[in-house]
């Protein structure tokens, strides 16, 4: 009996056990089915997604930065080049204690206060994970010394890179501009232009001048290497390679030697000089003095140098040739004479008797001629030759400001020339409509009188005046002024820049008269004898003086009594040879007084070199010295 119950229990027990085991089996089956579903989900449904992730895990795209195009002048003189060198760079995000690190580096590699200041400035404007140079141009010895201690400096590395260099420094500064490290604003701009990919590895971008205007040509196309990397980021092998396309080399219209001579010719004067080939608009010299050393800007300028440049009373960072706006002074006179002939307001033979001043009808106010007592009897020819103010006071009154405006506009005044540089300004060509719009005032007859000799509201840039001079030299046909002659790969192709953009219809006789008068200016009896004295070629020119401060009625201008920065600006425009012009220019010597005395001799040196190949003596000496040193 007992054993029966036990047996029964035993069977019951086995039954219950097997039920439990069966349940377990179900549980196991269910769980394995879930696993199977999971495999299916990951490996079949989401396979594409994970494959992409695996690929992006292992494939790393490394941009290869193209070499920036080299810039040369028209004769092949290198103005902007690249040289290979080493920098010591820090990735601030990877360095815990920056000060200690820099102090330690300083024991191996010399770090000047200048480097530290620049580094600090870069730190303040850096992007995340960017590497910043603490030292540039390391010597081989310094490279070796640091390399042996590298392991001590995580986040600090030596980079071999190509550096930009401007060998002529301040001579070409305003013209070439410079490249600098790409900032946040430029990144945004590149992204907007859908060009950010091309700058993935680039650290520099053109900031001003030619470097900025021709950025797309100079930069080149970034190449890409697809590299397989392991989890540690080490490259295992290269998968594909697209070579970068180097930036295009630029050949400028500029004559570097001419530019240098022009720069030197200014001596201590500030100012600007723009020389153009009137036959095609090629800019031969583009001087803004003082210049600056563009090399300072490439890796970020240090605060001290920046403040020195920025706070100098000479404003070396201002591109005077492009952006300086000055009164025209007497350089307006040949254009006024042409306007008189154009509107048949005065005939060439019409003459006035110059008492040394001009009075408007019904007014006692005297507009004085620069020459006390006047020039006597003055016709149109003489008015230009001796720069008679009285003649033009009257002429302006007869023409009226609006006709002056319309005629001067034909020569490009009041408009940008469209030269291949950013930041050009348009000057100011006044009219009654302009004054009403600007000041809500009527135009007074008195405004017109002083406008006749280029004072008052008129403002021009040296570039505009050079362009107008070239247009006059080329008988009214003005070619687009431009700085780039050829872009590599497009040599010989007509540049879109080389086209006539001005065509002033002037009667040949009228033109001949004014041109003859301009030649007379540089002959004995003219105001700029220095421009042509003893030269084997003939020069057409015109002096000008732009007032910086106006004189009170009856007060006499005395340069010695006026502070240096308030003295008159000296203008000289010229083209030569007069009968078949090859060069036209405008010269501005700031606070230089009379155009004939300061500006004309500068022009003369430029002409002597360009037409005769004559190198001024001090420069020659410097050259010979350099030649000896290089030997």
């Amino acid at each position: 009996m007992m054993s029966k119950i036990e047996l029964k229990d035993h069977q019951r027990e086995i039954y219950f056990f097997r039920l439990r085991l069966f349940l377990s089996l179900g549980f196991v089956g269910l769980m394995l089915f879930i696993l199977l579903l999971r495999f299916f989900y990951l490996q079949v449904i989401r396979h594409g997604h994970f494959e992409t992730m695996a690929e992006s895990n292992r494939i790393y795209v490394v941009p290869t930065v193209p070499n920036r195009g080299v810039i040369t002048d028209r004769n092949g003189v290198v103005l902007a080049r690249n040289y290979a060198g080493y920098t010591l760079e820090i990735t601030p995000d990877k360095v815990a204690d920056m000060q200690a690190t820099i102090a330690e580096i300083g024991k191996l590699v010399e770090i000047k206060p200048k480097d530290l200041r620049r580094f600090k400035k870069l730190m303040s404007e850096r992007r995340s994970l960017q590497t910043l140079p603490i030292r540039t141009r390391l010597s081989d010895e310094e490279v070796a010394r640091f390399a042996s201690q590298r392991y001590r400096f995580p986040g600090v590395e030596i980079k071999a890179r190509l550096f930009r260099e401007y060998p002529l420094t301040d001579v070409t500064s305003h013209l070439l501009g410079y490249i600098g490290r790409i900032n946040q604003q430029e990144i945004t701009q590149l992204e907007d232009d859908d060009n950010a990919n091309n700058y993935l590895g680039s650290e520099y971008i053109g900031k001003t001048g030619i470097e900025q205007f021709y950025e797309n040509d100079l930069h080149g196309v970034t190449g890409f290497e697809q590299v397989e990397v392991d989890a540690g980021g080490r490259a295992v092998r290269m998968l594909s390679h697209t070579a970068p396309q180097s930036g295009k080399n630029l050949t400028l219209t500029l004559d570097a030697k001419l530019q240098e001579i022009a720069m030197q010719a200014f001596g201590d004067y500030r100012g600007a000089l723009v020389a153009i080939d009137p036959n095609n608009g090629e800019v031969l010299a583009f001087v803004s003095k003082p210049g600056y050393d563009p090399n300072l800007f490439i890796d970020g300028i240090d605060t001290e140098n920046w403040e020195a440049l920025n706070n100098s009373p000479d404003v070396p960072l201002n591109n005077r040739a492009l952006r300086g706006q000055y009164p025209m002074g007497s350089t307006i006179k040949p254009y006024m004479a042409l306007a008189a002939l154009h509107y048949k307001s005065r005939s060439p033979s019409y003459s006035i008797s110059d008492p040394g001043y001009y009075k408007l009808a019904g007014s006692s106010h005297q507009y004085r001629d620069w020459k006390a007592g006047g020039h006597g009897r003055v016709d149109m020819f003489k008015s230009i030759q001796v720069s008679c103010d009285t003649y033009y006071y009257g002429l302006a009154t007869e023409l009226g400001i609006d006709r002056m405006h319309d005629f001067l506009e034909l020569f490009g005044f009041g408009k940008k020339t469209g030269i291949d540089m950013e930041g050009e300004v348009s000057g100011l060509l006044p009219s009654t409509a302009w004054k009403m719009k600007r000041y809500n005032q009527v135009w007074y007859p008195g405004d017109t009188v002083s406008a006749g000799i280029g004072q008052g509201y008129h403002l021009i840039t040296p570039l505009q005046l050079a362009f107008a001079t070239a247009t006059l030299a080329n008988d009214g046909v003005g070619f687009q002024p431009h700085l780039v002659k050829d872009i590599q790969g497009q040599e010989g192709e007509p540049r879109p820049a080389t086209q006539a953009i001005l065509n002033v219809k002037i009667a040949p006789d009228d033109l001949a008269l004014v041109k003859r008068a301009l030649v007379a200016v540089t002959q004995p009896g003219g105001t700029a004898v220095a421009a042509n004295y003893g030269a084997p070629y003939s020069v057409a020119g015109k002096t000008g003086t732009a007032q910086v401060v106006s004189m009170k009625q009856g007060e006499k201008y005395d340069a010695s009594k006026v502070s240096e920065y308030n003295r008159d600006h000296a203008w000289f425009i010229a083209y030569a040879p007069a009968d078949k012009p090859r060069i036209a220019m405008a010269v501005l010597a700031e606070n230089g007084g009379h155009g004939g005395g300061t500006a004309a001799p500068i022009a003369r040196k430029v002409l002597d070199y360009y037409l005769l190949g004559k190198v001024p003596t001090p420069l020659k000496k410097a050259d010979e010295k350099a030649a000896v040193q290089s030997d």
Binding site: R18, V28, L35, L36, L42, A54, N57
Partner: protein, 365 residues
């Protein structure tokens, strides 16, 4: 004794069916390990040694009569407990965990011993009280389970404690733990979850958190899970081919010869390979179920069932962890991952299983 007899004696207590499943798995293990170690023969040799040692242990245990096993249950359990307490008091700390005990001659990890000792102890206990089983016995068995598990959680070693807890729970379940009590346990577990959460170490909590959103910390705690899932997913249906896994060979996969070896296999052999691998596991588990169902005594049934289900749990937890449905707990893939200790423990378990199967067969005939 001639060779045939020798072979017969050798195979006497081994189960050829189970043995073929294990052999298949170990073969796969060597193949995958070779790829996971970038063709390192020394690791293959090492694993072969592990296999040899573990197999010897299996053979010895398989040849042990069942009453021997029952006799060592209590001493083994007590020894394990003493060692666990020893670890808690004097254990060596490595990688932030106190799991090892330096005995002077060797450094041992007592929690591994408990993987066998705990179910053995519980099965022995139930066998002993078979005739008069009440809920009180279940309660005492549960305490026998909770004590070592608690000690191991505190080491901390989440992976091992989960496996031991599971093996013990399976014994309780198969021993007929009442549904009502199980329900109460479940509710209790849920209720104490917040408290348990507080007990967990920071890194353990992180691992659980990462399960919900591994991308949250892709380079930190979520890295293992993400790279594992990428490896598995990018394998696709047919896999990238043997030795061609990019996640594996470019070092993206962490722990690829141990806990994450399944990701290596999955990447290179794809969904198809996974099906085959899973089939091998199912074959072994299935054989375990059959042996369990045919076991003649209460002790052997509980023991065989627990070993089989624990083996399944090992597999599921590892694969689930690699494919991102379970948090990353340090559980190797049974018999595939490199490592001598887990291999030894598992093979001991299979030795017990074979002993159960073959000894009762001998009894029957």
């Amino acid at each position: 004794m001639n060779i045939r007899q020798l072979k017969q004696r050798f195979m006497l207590h081994l189960d050829p069916v189970l043995l073929s499943g294990l052999g298949a798995l170990l073969l796969v293990s060597l193949i995958v390990l070779f790829s996971a170690t970038d063709g390192n023969w020394w690791r293959i040799v090492g694993q072969l040694v592990n296999i040899l040692v573990a197999f010897s242990a299996l053979w010895i245990v398989a040849n042990m009569p069942l009453h021997w096993l029952m006799r060592i249950a209590l001493p083994l359990y007590l020894l394990g407990m003493i060692l666990l307490i020893g670890v808690a008091l004097f254990g060596d700390i490595s990688h932030g965990a106190r799991r090892w005990l330096n005995l002077g001659v060797a450094v041992i990890q007592p929690s591994e011993l408990m993987k066998i000792a705990v179910p053995l102890m519980m099965a022995w206990y139930f066998e002993k009280h078979e005739a008069t089983l009440t809920w009180r016995n279940h309660f005492i068995a549960a305490i026998l389970l909770v004590m070592p598990v608690a000690l191991i959680v505190r080491q901390p070693d989440l992976g091992t404690s989960i496996l031991i807890a599971a093996s013990g729970f399976y014994v309780l379940f198969l021993a007929g733990l009442s549904w009502r009590l199980m329900g109460a346990l479940f509710v209790g577990a849920l209720a104490s979850a917040p408290f348990a959460w507080g007990m967990l170490h920071d890194y353990q909590r992180h691992r659980v958190m990462m399960l919900f959103d591994p991308s949250q910390d892709a380079l930190g705690k979520g890295y293992h899970t993400i790279q594992g899932m990428i490896a598995v997913g990018s394998g696709g249906f047919f896999g990238k081919g043997y030795m061609n896994g990019t996640q594996t060979h470019l070092d993206f996969l962490p722990e690829r010869s141990t806990d994450f070896i399944f990701a290596v296999f999955s990447e290179e052999f794809g969904f198809l390979g996974n099906l085959i691998l899973l089939a091998i596991y199912i074959f072994i588990i299935g054989r375990g179920f059959i042996i369990t169902a045919n076991a003649s005594t209460y002790f052997t049934r509980l023991m065989a069932g627990s070993i089989t289900l624990t083996f399944f749990t090992y597999t599921f937890v590892n694969m689930g962890m690699v494919t991102g449905i379970l948090p990353v707990v340090g559980v190797p893939l049974p018999l595939l991952s490199y490592g001598g200790t887990s291999m030894l423990t598992l093979m001991l378990g299979f030795g017990v299983l074979m002993s159960i199967h073959t000894h009762q067969r001998l009894v029957k005939t």
